[in-house]
């Protein structure tokens, strides 16, 4: 068990990063990571996963996040998106700050399946094969989600494409 726990611990930073980007909210992200770890530890006590831990943990977390979103839709509550999810060491120019905030807001407007896919590859650096495995979809489906996510983000941030409302 300590070996397993040590292995999980090395993945916590990446899980937190991904959760933060997925939810756009620091507290909710850490709640999600905690749920994910608890679930993984509970499952592991009997059934150790075959194969690498990283995709297994990400799959657990994404499923939990989807459940969470369903629940929130059923009972909506006021939810703050962190406008800028950190305080940079040296404040960026107002323009750069705006670009970051715009991207964060645009990411939140993407359909969830596009956001999940894009972040696995563009933020976590997963291969298409690994990311497709995490999401349980064929590589072709993953690629089309990533392509649509990139174009939608570009349109939202640059205003080069359809306007905000039409994306969702």
């Amino acid at each position: 068990m300590p070996g397993f726990l040590d292995d999980i611990e090395t993945l916590v930073p990446a899980l937190r990063r991904y959760a933060r980007a997925l939810t756009g909210n620091a507290d909710r992200a850490d709640d999600l990571v905690q749920d994910c770890l608890e679930r993984a530890i509970a499952k592991q006590s009997l059934w150790r996963p075959i194969g690498p831990l990283r995709p297994w943990l990400f799959t657990i977390m994404i499923n939990l996040h989807r459940n969470d979103r369903r629940r929130r839709r059923a009972a909506p509550e006021a939810e703050a998106l962190d406008v800028l999810p950190f305080e940079p060491a040296s404040p960026p120019s107002q323009g750069a700050r705006l670009a970051l905030a715009e991207t964060a807001a645009a990411l939140d407007r993407l359909p969830a399946e596009q956001r999940e896919a894009l972040l696995l590859v563009a933020l976590e650096g997963m291969s298409y094969a690994e990311a497709a495995g995490v999401l349980g979809v064929p590589v072709g489906t993953l690629m089309s989600r990533i392509g649509r996510a990139r174009e939608a983000l570009r349109a939202l941030v640059d205003g080069t494409g359809p306007k905000l409302r039409s994306v969702k």
């Binding site: 068990m1 300590p2 070996g3 397993f4 726990l5 040590d6 999980i8 611990e9 916590v12 930073p13 990446a14 937190r16 990063r17 933060r20 980007a21 992200a29 850490d30 990571v33 905690q34 770890l37 608890e38 530890i41 509970a42 006590s45 009997l46 059934w47 150790r48 075959i50 999810p85 950190f86 670009a99 970051l100 991207t103 964060a104 990411l107 972040l119 590859v121 563009a122 933020l123 291969s127 298409y128 072709g140 690629m143 089309s144 990533i146 392509g147 990139r150 983000l153 570009r154 941030v157 640059d158």
Partner: protein, 258 residues
């Protein structure tokens, strides 16, 4: 995607993500030279990637909050409902008729029938403890069902020993064929992953003392209660295994009649 003269959306994305085979990559690069629009898109996508890294990359460098420590979460789980579940799941391998005490009668060497029993128990241990995916048929979480099922198949009333106070939690159990009957194999695991198995067969023999044997790094402690033959097997020091065997047996006396 394999058209030699055009670049597909999939090509462009795979190019940005480093997923193209070298030949296709070279072909895409050649085509990009004549396509400023695609070059512009690629640049925009790469900037998106850089922006995402600027927004969220630092999260991975933050100090991990204590509540997200897997060791802490595992410890809380063990201290909380995990232990309760094991306790509620039922305890102690018991005979309906009760069992007399024999610990202290001394340890004696096994005879031929006993050697067969120990051999079967060791073979089952060696076969199943390394198993990652299916170490057991029924998990320890379904303890009540496990006890009921194995009792029916062995035609004995079994209560599953709780070795949690000794640091071993129940993984679960399975049913096995044995010489002339069925056998139950119960598996336990310590926090550091050491697994021990308790092999149980119906027996008509007399109660016997505990016998310890060691071979190939495995230690087996065997005994007969009134209507059960039991062998506890593990790659552990004999003192540890004896202590666990006594705990298994000791819980017999404490168990309520069922």
């Amino acid at each position: 995607m394999n058209d030699r003269n055009t670049i597909s959306e999939a090509d462009l994305n795979a190019y940005v993500d480093g997923e193209l085979a070298p030949a296709r990559r070279a072909a895409v690069e050649a085509l990009l030279a004549d396509s400023p629009r695609d070059r512009e898109r690629i640049a925009a996508w790469r900037e998106q990637g850089a922006t995402l890294a600027a927004l969220y990359g630092h999260v991975a460098d933050e100090a991990m909050p204590a509540r997200l420590s897997p060791h802490r979460l595992a410890a809380e789980r063990r201290g909380g409902f995990g232990r309760l579940a094991v306790a509620a799941a039922a305890v102690a391998l018991v005979l309906a008729g009760g069992a007399g005490g024999w610990i202290g009668r001394g340890l004696v060497a096994p005879d031929a029938a006993e050697t067969t029993l120990i051999g079967e128990a060791e073979a089952a241990h060696v076969l199943y403890t390394p198993e990652v995916l299916h170490p057991v048929e029924v998990s320890g979480a379904e303890g009540a069902h496990l006890a009921k099922w194995l009792s029916r198949r062995l035609d004995r009333t079994l209560i599953i020993p709780d070795l949690a106070p000794e640091g071993f939690s129940l993984v679960g159990g399975r049913l096995l064929p044995a010489a002339g009957s069925a056998a139950a194999l119960l598996m336990y695991e310590s926090d550091d992953g050491a697994r021990i198995t308790l092999y149980v067969v119906p027996s008509a023999g007399e109660e016997t003392a505990m016998r310890v044997s060691s071979a190939d790094g495995l230690t087996a402690v065997s005994w007969h209660a009134e209507t059960l033959g039991c062998v506890l097997v593990g790659a552990l020091p004999r003192e540890t295994l004896l202590r666990l065997a006594k705990a298994s047996y000791g819980s017999l006396d404490q168990a309520p009649d069922i």
